[in-house]
C-alpha cells in the first residue's frame, strides 16, 4: 500500500533531520515507490493550474493524481451522482483512501461544477472540424 510510504514521506519532511539526509531519503523513497517512472515513458507533469479554477480544485487534483493522471478525470463529464459513484468505485476497488464528509463534498463540488455531463458527449462524441464554436 502506498499509504504507508506516503505517511513515512511526510514524517521525513517533518523530522528534524539535516537537509542532506532528508534529500537522500526522499530520493531513495522516490526510487522505491515509483517504479513506473524509471522507464522510457514519463508522464507529463500536470499541475492544478492546468485545469479550470474553482473551489476544491487543488484538493480534487491531488486526491485523483495520487494514482492516475488528471486528464482521465478532465475528459469525462458526469453528474454529481456520477462523480460520487466514481469516487466510491475508486475507494472500493482501487485503493483510494476513504474521504471524510467535508473532503468528499469539496471534491464533488469541484467535479460537479467543472466537469458536468455537457461535454464531451453532448457533442455526440464527434466534433465538427469546421465549426467556429
Amino acid at each position: 500500500m502506498h499509504a504507508i510510504p506516503s505517511l513515512s514521506f511526510r514524517r521525513l519532511l517533518d523530522a528534524p533531520l539535516s537537509r542532506g539526509l532528508t534529500l537522500l531519503c526522499v530520493g531513495a523513497l522516490i526510487a522505491w515507490a515509483t517504479p513506473a517512472l524509471a522507464q522510457n515513458f514519463t508522464p507529463r507533469d500536470e499541475s492544478p493550474e492546468d485545469f479550470p479554477a474553482g473551489a476544491g480544485r487543488d484538493e480534487t487534483f491531488y486526491a485523483c493524481t495520487a494514482c492516475h493522471g488528471f486528464k482521465l478525470v478532465a475528459q469525462q463529464g458526469l453528474s454529481r451522482a456520477g462523480w460520487e459513484d466514481s469516487i466510491n468505485l475508486m475507494v472500493r476497488r482501487h485503493n483510494m483512501p476513504a474521504l471524510d464528509e467535508a473532503d468528499r463534498a469539496r471534491l464533488l463540488g469541484y467535479l460537479e461544477a467543472t466537469y458536468p455531463p455537457r461535454a464531451p458527449a453532448a457533442r455526440g462524441g464527434w466534433q465538427n472540424p469546421f465549426s467556429k464554436q
Binding site: P35, P43, C67, L72, G125, F130
Partner: protein, 435 residues
C-alpha cells in the same frame, strides 16, 4: 494545401498526410490563474498515497497543451496518436491513421490499466503458468512455447471494450474513446487451446482468469491492475492465441511483450498484456474488470444516466459491428468543383463477419453500397472502398454503416446506455469541405 479534384491514385494520400485537415479543438480547459495551495495539506493529511512532491519531482516535462488533441510522444510510436491519458498511458489512433491494410505497430493504439513494466531483460526466459482446474500444472518459458507448439500468424482485430464510448449521451464513465481504440495487426504465437490441451482440462473447467506483470497504479503489488477471463469455449477457440510477435517483430513492451494473449473479437481487456498466469476456474472469474459494471452491458435496457443495478448486467463478449472511413480524414478540404470522392475504410464485427458496408453523403437519406473485401482469416477486419458523387461545392458529411453477418447494422447513435459505456458503435462520420 487543398486536395485536388478526384484524387486519382490511392497512394496520393495513403496516410492522409497530403490533406489539409482543420484542427479539431478537443480542449475545453480554461487555463486560469491558480488559487493558493493552502488546502492541499489537508487532503494529503487525510492519507493520500502520493504527495504532490513525488510525481512532479521525477517527471517534469513541460505542461499540457492548452488546446487541441495531445499527441503521443513515445519511442517507436506515431505522433499522430492522440493521448487520452498518461497515467495510465492510453492513446487512440485517429480513424485516418487506420488506413493501412495491416495496422503498423507504430500506429497501434495503446491501452494500459496499470503501470508499464520494465522491458523484460531476457524475453526467452519469460514464464507463464497454467494452473487451476487442469490435470497438469504447466510452467512454460517463452522458449518452450516457441518450441513445443504449432506456431501460427494471423491478422486479427484487437479492440478496446470501450471503443466508441465518447458517443454516449450522457457521457459514460471512463476514457472517452472515439473510434480509435482498435487496430488490426499480424499476431504470431500459438493457440491457447493447444496449451490447455497439454495441461488437460478437468470437466470442472469453466472459465479462465488471466494475470500479468503490470503493477496497479497505486503501486500495491498485491492488487492486479486488471485480471479478466473468458468462458472456456472462447479460450478453446483456435484463434485465441498466446502471442510473442506483432507484425513480424518481437511483441513490444508497450503492447504487452514479451508475451500476451489475443482473444479476438472480444473486449481487448481479455487479451492480457505481460501475461504471467492463466488460472482455470470452475466458475466465472471475479477479478479486476470482471464485476459490477466493468466490461458489462445492461440486460434490461436502462434509462440513460440512471444508476445501474449490477444484477441487471451481463458480461460483454463479442464486440459489436463497426465501420470506419479511413480516407479522407475528418476535416479534409477539396478544391472547388470536386464532383467525386474516393473513400476507403475498414469494418469488423467481433466474432462475426461484415456482410455489407454502406455510405451516405446526405446524413443517411440515401445510401450507396461499398465494395467490401474478404477477411484474410477469421477475426481479420474487412477493407472497403467506395466512390461517391457530390452535387455541388460546400460542406458535406460522409457517413458509413456496416451490417454484420447476422444482419445487425450500426445505429445512428450509441444506444443501450450503460454506466461505463460499452458497446457504443454509432455510425462513423467525417466532415469535408469542397471549395
Amino acid at each position: 494545401m487543398a486536395q485536388e479534384t478526384g484524387r486519382q491514385g490511392a497512394d496520393l494520400s495513403r496516410d492522409g498526410a497530403t490533406q489539409t485537415v482543420a484542427s479539431v479543438d478537443r480542449g475545453r480547459r480554461g487555463f486560469l490563474g491558480g488559487s493558493g495551495l493552502a488546502a492541499i495539506g489537508a487532503v494529503i493529511g487525510s492519507g493520500m498515497p502520493f504527495s504532490d512532491t513525488l510525481v512532479p519531482a521525477a517527471s517534469a516535462q513541460g505542461t499540457a497543451p492548452a488546446k487541441g488533441p495531445q499527441h503521443l510522444k513515445y519511442p517507436g510510436k506515431n505522433e499522430g496518436l492522440v493521448v487520452l491519458g498518461e497515467r495510465p498511458l492510453v492513446a487512440e489512433t485517429p480513424e485516418s491513421l487506420l488506413d493501412d491494410d495491416t495496422t503498423p505497430t507504430e500506429k497501434f493504439y495503446i491501452r494500459n490499466n496499470g503501470q508499464i513494466p520494465e522491458p523484460a531483460k531476457d524475453p526467452e526466459a519469460w514464464k507463464i503458468v497454467i494452473d487451476g482446474e487442469v490435470n497438469n500444472r504447466l510452467e512454460l518459458s517463452l522458449g518452450e512455447l516457441k518450441s513445443k507448439y504449432r506456431i501460427a500468424t494471423r491478422r486479427m482485430v484487437l479492440e478496446c471494450g470501450g471503443n466508441g464510448r465518447s458517443a454516449f449521451s450522457p457521457p459514460a464513465r471512463g476514457n472517452q474513446w472515439t473510434n480509435g481504440g482498435a487496430g488490426c495487426a499480424e499476431w504470431t504465437g500459438i493457440a491457447l487451446a493447444d496449451v490447455l490441451k497439454a495441461a488437460g482440462l478437468k470437466s470442472s473447467a469453466k472459465y479462465t482468469a488471466h494475470y500479468a506483470a503490470d503493477l496497479h497504479l497505486s503501486g500495491d503489488a498485491s492488487k492486479p491492475s486488471l485480471s479478466r477471463g473468458v468462458r472456456i469455449e472462447k479460450a478453446m477457440d483456435p484463434y485465441t492465441m498466446i502471442v510473442w510477435g506483432m507484425n513480424g517483430e518481437p511483441l513490444p513492451n508497450i503492447h504487452g511483450g514479451p508475451v500476451r494473449l489475443v482473444v479476438p473479437g472480444w473486449p481487448g481487456s481479455a487479451s492480457q498484456k505481460w501475461l504471467t498466469r492463466i488460472n482455470i476456474r470452475d466458475k466465472e472469474h471475479d477479478g479486476a474488470g470482471m464485476t459490477e459494471f466493468s466490461y458489462r452491458v445492461a440486460i434490461k435496457p436502462m434509462v440513460p444516466g440512471e444508476k445501474g443495478d449490477p444484477k441487471n448486467f451481463r458480461i460483454l463478449e463479442s464486440m459489436p459491428v463497426r465501420s470506419l472511413i479511413t480516407n479522407p480524414a475528418n476535416g479534409a478540404k477539396f478544391s472547388a468543383g470536386t464532383k467525386e470522392l474516393k473513400l476507403r475504410g475498414a469494418a469488423w464485427a467481433g466474432d462475426l463477419t461484415v456482410k455489407a458496408v454502406d455510405v451516405s453523403t446526405d446524413f443517411g437519406a440515401t445510401w450507396h453500397k461499398a465494395g467490401l473485401s474478404k477477411p484474410k482469416n477469421k477475426y481479420d477486419w474487412q477493407r472497403w472502398t467506395a466512390t461517391v458523387k457530390l452535387p455541388s461545392d460546400g460542406y458535406f458529411e460522409i457517413w458509413t454503416r456496416a451490417t454484420d453477418s447476422k444482419g445487425v447494422m450500426q445505429p445512428h447513435q450509441a444506444g443501450f446506455w450503460n454506466p461505463q459505456g460499452y458497446g457504443g458503435n454509432a455510425m462513423h462520420r467525417i466532415a469535408v469541405l469542397v471549395g
